[in-house]
């Protein structure tokens, strides 16, 4: 799929440019590939290393996580656009004198940041200079020369006047939000190891009834929105599961198997699926067992669930995906609440929350029970 290029007007280093760019085009790529301003370097494309830092409307910003179309109308200054700038001239001299560059790859972004520090803050202690430089990574110099050059350039400088305050209007009536519920949230069970979770759900119904209810698959499915079963064949199932982790939305398509033991009211199911978009795969194993409640309502049921899951591919390699544990916990809680509501004869409330890997496995369970 290619989205249609859009018209973009930028003023780049003082020159007005009318260009076309696909919406996904990073500002850095537009500068480098269309305007041949190759001094703006792409070091990580993750917003961390700072090599791509340019001025957008006069302030340093990352050109790797700013998209060209989203800068329409802006003034851009790249490292090539400072040749008449006296602060930059001094910085350049000092960078050389302090041996503040070796390979030179981080240097353009470093200079753009350094110039902003000098102008915005003037002379400040070395510790502050280090803090302000912390969004630009250099792998060669150990920062000794860079910090020295910035301090030398800022020596005796006073901060330039900051931009005007943003005018405030009068606010007639403050908003009122619904009162805060201060009740403690339901306690979740701790994670054991990185990729496994044990959760016990207490349900106020006897085990026979719960076991039976869990066999009513379509109803059980309603407790966990978002999954779709496309095929059931004996113990084998095929299905899809949509998962969301903030802006990351994944649809795992895959297969699973279910084995149930009515005698012990327990079961194991395994599932695996792949998301074509991110090229990630998930596989998991869910064990569950019903037992007369030890802690909950007398005569009730404890559903003990052990869940192990494993991610492969881009999703697994994205560090913040560790937070998937929080989603899994919340889903388990939702599931418990909904199942309980269902057993009490209430319709499960609509669940706007996104699905997760936990649900992939429950989807498989649902399918099995649906035979």
């Amino acid at each position: 799929m290619i989205s249609a290029p859009l018209a973009v007007t930028l003023t780049v280093n003082g020159q007005r440019r009318q260009l076309l760019a696909e919406p996904r085009t990073q500002l850095a790529d537009l500068l480098r590939e269309q305007l041949n301003l190759t001094g703006t370097h792409l070091g990580c494309e993750q917003g961390v290393c700072g090599a791509c830092t340019v001025l957008i409307d006069g302030v340093p910003q990352r050109s790797c996580i700013s998209y060209a179309v989203d800068c329409d109308g802006a003034e851009i200054t790249t490292i090539e656009g400072f040749d008449a700038d006296p602060t930059m001239a001094t910085l350049r001299q000092n960078f050389s004198a302090h041996h503040a560059l070796q390979c030179g790859f981080c240097t353009p972004g470093m200079l753009v940041t350094a110039r902003d520090i000098v102008l915005r803050l003037g002379e400040v202690p070395e510790a502050r200079v280090r803090e302000e430089l912390s969004g630009n990574i250099c792998r060669c110099t150990g920062y000794v020369g860079i910090v020295g050059a910035v301090c030398a350039t800022a020596r005796g400088c006073t901060p330039q006047e900051s931009a005007a305050p943003i005018a405030a209007a009068a606010l007639a009536a403050p908003a009122v939000a619904a009162p805060v519920e201060n009740a403690a949230p339901r306690a979740a069970q701790p994670l054991k190891g990185g990729n496994s979770l044990t959760e016990t759900i207490a349900i106020a119904a006897p085990p026979e009834q719960v076991w039976e209810a869990m066999g009513d698959l379509p109803a059980l499915a309603a407790c966990l929105p978002g999954a779709e079963i496309t095929e059931v064949d004996g113990e084998a199932i095929k299905g899809r599961m949509k998962v969301a982790l903030g802006p990351i939305k994944v649809a795992f398509a895959g297969t699973g198997t279910v084995r149930l033991d009515a005698a012990t009211r327990s079961g194991v199911l395994r599932g695996a699926g792949r998301d074509g978009g991110t090229g990630s795969s998930a596989e998991g194993e869910l064990g569950f067992a019903l037992a007369p409640s030890a802690t909950g309502t007398p005569g009730g049921t404890d559903v003990a669930i052990t869940l192990q899951w494993r991610l492969t591919g881009a999703l697994a390699q994205f560090g913040r995906s560790g937070l998937v544990a929080d989603l899994v916990r919340r889903l388990a809680q939702q599931f418990a609440a909904n199942l309980q509501a269902r057993l009490a004869g209430e319709a499960p409330p609509a669940q706007p929350a996104p699905l997760n890997l936990f649900q992939l496995l429950w989807a498989a369970l649902r399918a099995r029970f649906g035979r």
Partner: protein, 267 residues
């Protein structure tokens, strides 16, 4: 590492943005959290609608008791006090600790709140301040208390066709004091723990942030603070954060004790 293709539109007004979202577009503000995920092709929206330039998104409105900040104001604008501060310096202090200056120059208050990363600063700060989120959707405006806004990691309380338009922040009194202790390994990186304490006359709040889940209010600790007593912070944390390991809870206790200690420092 280039994004999967997406379409893009720029909304001139909030209703225009909401209409685009009803048609399936996802909102783009500063894009400083979304951008990396786009580049990694982990986030693959079909269409983005730029909401940061919509009318009213960068407004500031003041009343005797609150300040209403447009959601598209940037961290740097708050850091530089270009937005009038009603929090006795808390907001500028927090802003300066968010990521890096180049990110703060584009990243927005509202974008960070909606992204709902547990380790990010604003979700904890707004919970501590008792702020109110002003959402805009097809049915108009809706107010959501900050502590109800983040539902979980990367999950907020907005419907698919709702967007965060503004944040209303209660004014702290001239006598108010606060402590904000963020523990992290590297400047600008995600926090390992955040402790926030605000004491304003008869009102106090204690919040444990960066807890891999929404920030946790600690009412007993707050009450003890008002009474001038020490509370059993560890016990309250154990109740509120059972999903964390004891070692991880201990780190949150450390950040809270440091935040409390900041109260007594001259300000």
């Amino acid at each position: 590492m280039k994004p999967a293709a997406f379409d893009y539109a720029r909304a001139a007004t909030i209703p225009e943005a909401v209409a685009a979202m009803r048609d399936g577009a996802r909102p783009l503000a500063g894009g400083q959290s979304l951008g990396p995920m786009l580049n990694l092709r982990l986030a693959r929206p079909g269409k983005l609608v730029d909401i940061k330039r919509a009318e009213g998104m960068r407004g500031v409105a003041l009343s005797a008791s609150t300040a209403r900040l447009g959601a598209a104001l940037t961290h740097a604008e708050i850091e530089d006090r270009r937005v009038e501060d009603v929090t006795r310096g808390l907001l500028p202090h927090v802003a300066r600790g968010i990521a890096y200056r180049a990110v703060r120059n584009r990243g927005t208050l509202g974008g960070s709140l909606c992204h709902a990363d547990p380790a990010a600063d604003w979700v904890t700060t707004m919970t501590g301040l008792g702020a109110t989120m002003i959402a805009q959707g097809p049915a108009g405006e809706r107010a959501i208390a900050a502590e109800n806004f983040m539902l979980g990691a990367f999950t907020n309380a907005l419907a698919e066709d709702e967007m965060l338009a503004a944040v209303e922040i209660p004014r702290l009194s001239p006598a108010a004091r606060w402590g904000y202790a963020k523990i992290n390994r590297k400047t600008g990186e995600f926090a390992m723990a955040i402790g926030l304490v605000i004491l304003d006359g008869p009102w106090a709040r204690v919040v444990a942030g960066a807890v891999e889940a929404p920030p946790a209010l600690l009412p007993r600790a707050a009450a003890a603070l008002l009474a001038g007593e020490t509370s059993d912070l560890d016990a309250e944390l154990a109740e509120r954060l059972p999903h964390l390991s004891p070692a991880d809870r201990k780190l949150r206790a450390v950040s809270l004790r440091r935040a409390i200690a900041m109260l007594s420092e001259a300000r």
